[in-house]
Subunit: 105 residues, 2 copies
């Protein structure tokens, strides 16, 4: 089985300093061993209707479901989740084993 | 600037043979030069409430916005989009330049 992906699509509440939250997230995920890779992005192109108001994508990769479980239970993740939840207006989460079809030539 | 990501989160209509659609998508994206990489996955872990009924994630990577524009206009993509749209119950699209924070050690 391939890597396990944890996808978070979010819209932040008005007035939230998104940069600070993302900085904290970057620091956290760099430090937690169980996280294999992490990237994020802010929507620049999609139409408002098609993105349903969501603005940010966070994509975490784990080597195994054990690593993912360890991450979810990690005290620093639990702590961060609480403050993250308070900052978002809406969120969408999907977890899936990645099927890699095409990689850069 | 990093790669450009095109994220599609979808829920298919009942009765749709999802495997066939994904097979066609894999074939298409492998062949279109402008697509740098492609992976997809079916949600296995997230709670129904948190994934809002969405089941599938498709993530395409492009080297540049020019490549992405070329892909969108590609006749085979236009053709596929029409049949794909007919098969889905709901969809979420986000386009973003990827900020890579952590890569595998």
């Amino acid at each position: 089985m391939g890597d396990l992906k944890h996808l978070v699509v979010a819209k932040f509440k008005e007035g939230v300093v998104v940069e600070e939250i993302i900085q904290e997230m970057e620091k956290l995920l760099k430090e937690i061993e169980a996280v294999k890779s992490f990237e994020w992005g802010q929507d620049t192109g999609s139409e408002e209707m098609l993105r349903q108001g969501f603005t940010h994508v966070f994509l975490l990769t784990f080597r195994s479901s054990e690593d993912f479980t360890a991450f979810l239970a990690h005290p620093r993740h639990v702590e961060f989740s609480a403050s993250f939840s308070a900052a978002i207006e809406k969120i969408l989460l999907l977890d899936y084993p990645a099927v890699v079809v095409k990689t850069p030539a």
